[in-house]
Symmetry: D2
């Protein structure tokens, strides 16, 4: 078993989720490399140390450049805020490190393109953390579509609904609310939530040809958590778009943080000629499935409980009837990434896939400004 | 089209439900007889008149004996309280009338047996209003079982949960609460609710061989609504039993009026070797179906929306996707009763079927007293 | 009780649904007028006679002009195909008859506007059969919004999904498939299905300010059921749009007949500051409700089973726990229409409301052609 | 942070689940002890070594007596088959080790009583792995009941349904199927599945006073996986019982491995005067909650998605809207066990609680033989 020496940038929610996955993948999957938690990097050294102690990192850095420079690191995992993805990734690639990056890839397609060029030129393994592809139910959706079980696809619809910013008292900026500060996040729900929906959608149903979008910022000014000053909110609170896929199917997409009652309601549905399927993150261990080829009187939507060895990833876990949780979308991604290293067939989504998603979110935001249908650049 | 002259006894909830069914069956079903609302009978002449006017009865009687004596009546429908079922049915049969009777058939198996003997001796058409057999989903359950789709049956479980008598202030006796007065109702939930569960169960899964039961009366004294006096409550508030069917399958049954949050939650589930099915009165237009013969990875419980022409009774109604309501369990029963007259193959459940159910409820009540397993008499 | 003499034009699905409602409203609601089924009018006299016999119409007409001319008719109910709504309504209004009209009102807003002007000038009672307003759950949604329980509304989303035209073998034109023939239907799913969604949406959430839409015709040619010739399909098979309401809330709408597994899945959801609600025609007796003001740890979406006397219309029906069906959306509309006659406060949606919906569908179709956001004319 | 040196007996499913919990508790919970994986013990040294390597155990033993004798072990965790629980526990207690034991505690109440006496005499920390108490939804059920939110409790119903032994070809005995061999398992579903239901039930609703049960063995003979011989099956395939709790509430319990379509459908429902709650292991992250004190028209069953910091254990995990899995019922039990060591208030269920459950299962099995109600011995 070869070591895979990890240098983690960031110790927030995603730093935690990735680290947990690095710690667990090898107990459940038979892999040729074993992640070694070499170092975590964070600007606040005290917090970084506490994180390292809790999770078992061997060392701490407070400057990502120092981390990237370390010869004992094989892989840089960027779990920091969006505004630093690009510079870290470029440096890491240049240093010949493998690079994993939280989504969305860059602050703009042009940033993302540079990142793609950097990793491709350096020839280093690279991946974006669009983790929902690896919820077993989503992976099975992919399998069913690839097997042709749905036939020609007519419709795709996805939404990602939250409700945590309804109060005008939620600030922008700082540790817990940087996603509301456009200078750190790039955009609002378009890059944060719709990006997930788009990555899954293109994986399942191919490229998107054109979009027309609409965005809104319901709360116009919020206090900055760092400065205490009330400032204009520059992110999109809500975003929706219509789309046409390259294969001729139609789609609706929507994301918001103003949908009372929903915490992380990422749902999608695909309607094909013969069959349809639907998924919902709030019950991520289920896939809804309708097959028109079933006998007429007993046709109905099946609620498939993904807890059996026939289901993707599940043979590695527990027993029929019991579910695994959100965190293992990351565990699976680590397992697949390492399996890609082992086999030489890299796992995806890679940076180029991340760029493809960024082209769509960019077209959505542009279209929301011009009020016109916008062609999506193909990555 | 031949007339079928109806004489209705009772104008309460069930009088209303039956009458509505008599009025509607012929618009939706092609039948050889058409019900004619000749007379309704009730002790309170004023209320009976109002009822007759609202529903279109041609005349009113205040004495059921007068109704039974009328030569222009073909069919006596007994929608009165349980304590008068037997005497009216006996007289009606003797007078050569067809007899329909609300459930349960009699106050005791011995009463019920007399009623069976009376109609069989008279050779008159007879039926008990166990209406739930004719919810399309329940009828389809019967079809699936008869087609052998479930294979050998291992388990049956049913419950009927309500919550309307939790308050100790609910009185007993009188128009709205006669079901709490044992002298009028015979028993509590055993005869009122479990009887429904048992009728369906034996229809779907054959005879019940033996039972062991438990009953409870949570509120020991209630005011009598007629006398104003506080009296001991003699009905069972809750009743549950274990059973063995003749075919070797096991069952649990439960009914109560103390299950907070449930209004009329009649549910059953049948588990067979190959497939299982489940139904719930609160969503009566759906049948849940699991077929182990489905391909492994896409096995799941199907929620069948019974609104298509492949489903029992549905071709007579509206359009795919829209549901019919509770009242049409009665409409279907009328339609099938008339179809039975037309064809000479009488519809069921007939009085003998009603007796079979009464034998089970009687065994449950006896067993609850003795604490022992009790053999069920076969009707 | 005053008679309300009905002249029905059409004996298809909607003729049947309206007639059933006219026959039933008075048994369940206390009203000052009682509908009298005077005449049904259809071009095929034989079929019209059969229909009249089945439903109890006193007479038959084969020319709607004759019907309109009859002095014994108070109300003309237009349940014929869309292409004849306008001329019949204009004539009926001119003859001083009350006019009820199936939706959508006209083939185009200009037709609809003429119809509005005609009934308003004649001062006759008028209503459009947007029946879903009167599903009890939808009516309760209206009440909850009007009581301010949701607070400021941020989002509205609706869809109406069917799957009956996926096969390219489904013809266009003729009795069962006139909805696919643009010369008879006006449009495809936009006028047929989205119109329902829009009527409800504006009733619940006020006027729509602007839209951007997308339509598609998946099957380009279909055989004409009348001529047998293969012809271009001119209706929209699928239609989706983004919208902004006058109150600042955002919306997504979608309708299609290519969503495998859905028969008539009309759903809507409204997200407000304090609470959200959602409805689904496939389980029309339920309303989903989330109230953020509930205590933190027990917050959750409530599935309200509308079967109790606290719920709109329900006190007129059966018992707690049992549901009513689709047909009673029409029964309630008749009851409310008559109550409006009785009280002098006309029930709605009236023709002007119908026009408002037609302005939206028109803007959607125009926008789908131009690819631009389109202002909606206000009725 | 003090070490807590673990000696694990067994490396099957439960050995894996416990080990995973020992490895994870400290990353998510702030605790005064940290488990150290000192040794795993299994009769097959090769398998034990592989297990140790995968999970990070420092050493391996093949004789549990050697393990118990090791001075560097603080805690013996018995994850072996039921037939060896007692002797190991007795020895471990005698050696002054803390003892954790898989459920059910012993093969019989007399064995269990000895185990209780041993740990109590030795004064060592002890716990039984009834892990479902610590699904967050189940813990919240406990809180709601303790806060009096339900009021007087009338009904409890639980079932645990599986379908994995329907085929007569499933063998008995050996690694995967020892649960079918009575000499190893003690009983069938009564000890395996009902024991879980009973532990939860008594935790939530207090002691059980008396029961009447029914058991069945559907497949009478199965091949022994070790000997290859066909032998009589001595376990119960299905088991159901009625019960009366000490508090006067009534209950139904059922477990089976013959319920087609259910993998591990452990469900319970509690009906109180004011409120009811229900849970289902197949969606373990949800609790269903009905509160009659809600305003009349918006009363409904709430589906609470346990993913927020107000919910038990959840503040230690991820973000609102995403669920944790089955394995963390064990993680929570480890965290609580250690917190009990830290605070001096031992976590439960302890061995005496396990004995209480064994008294109930024993009464059920006896009652199934005698056909009579049986008093339950109180632990």
């Amino acid at each position: 078993m070869k070591p895979l020496n990890i240098g983690m940038v960031g110790y927030g929610l995603m730093g935690r989720a990735h680290t947990n996955a690095f710690r667990q993948a090898n107990q459940f999957f038979s892999l040729g490399h074993r992640p070694v938690l070499k170092a975590v990097c964070g600007r606040d050294g005290k917090k970084a140390k506490a994180f390292a102690k809790n999770w078992g990192y061997e060392s701490v850095e407070t400057d990502w450049k120092a981390l990237v420079a370390r010869p004992d690191i094989d892989l840089i995992d960027i779990a920091a805020t969006n505004n630093v993805h690009a510079e870290i990734a470029l440096a890491a690639a240049k240093a010949g490190k493998m690079v994993l990056c939280e989504k969305p890839l860059g602050m703009s397609p042009s940033e993302s393109l540079k990142m793609v060029n950097a990793v491709e030129k350096a020839g280093v393994a690279n991946m974006v953390w669009y983790n929902y592809r690896r919820a077993p139910a989503v992976t099975m959706a992919k399998q069913l579509i690839e097997e042709g079980k749905l036939g020609k696809i007519f419709h795709y619809r996805a939404k990602f609904l939250q409700d945590w910013t309804i109060s005008a008292d939620v600030p922008q900026g700082g540790a817990g609310t940087w996603r509301l500060d456009a200078s750190v996040s790039g955009s609002g729900v378009t890059g944060d939530l719709l990006a997930h929906c788009i990555d899954t959608a293109m994986w399942l149903n191919g490229g998107i040809e054109s979009v027309t979008g609409m965005t809104e910022t319901f709360v116009k000014k919020r206090k900055n958590a760092l400065t205490g000053k009330k400032q204009e909110v520059l992110i999109d609170d809500a975003s929706a778009f219509l789309a046409r896929f390259n294969n001729g199917s139609l789609a609706t997409f929507e994301a918001t943080r103003y949908a009372r009652g929903h915490k992380a309601l990422y749902t999608f549905e695909v309607n094909g000629e013969h069959a349809s399927l639907a998924w919902d993150l709030h019950d991520l261990h289920r896939l809804e499935w309708f097959d028109h080829r079933d006998e007429g009187n007993v046709r109905g939507w099946r609620s498939i409980h993904l807890s059996e060895s026939e289901h993707p990833y599940i043979e590695h876990w527990w027993i029929p009837g019991v579910q695994i949780g959100f965190e293992h979308t990351f565990t699976h991604q680590v397992a697949d990434f390492i399996a890609g290293l082992d086999s030489g067939e890299p796992a995806r989504p890679n940076f180029r896939d991340g760029l493809a998603t960024d082209y769509v979110t960019d077209a959505v935001l542009k279209s929301a400004k011009t009020g016109r249908w916008t062609k999506v650049k193909q990555a």
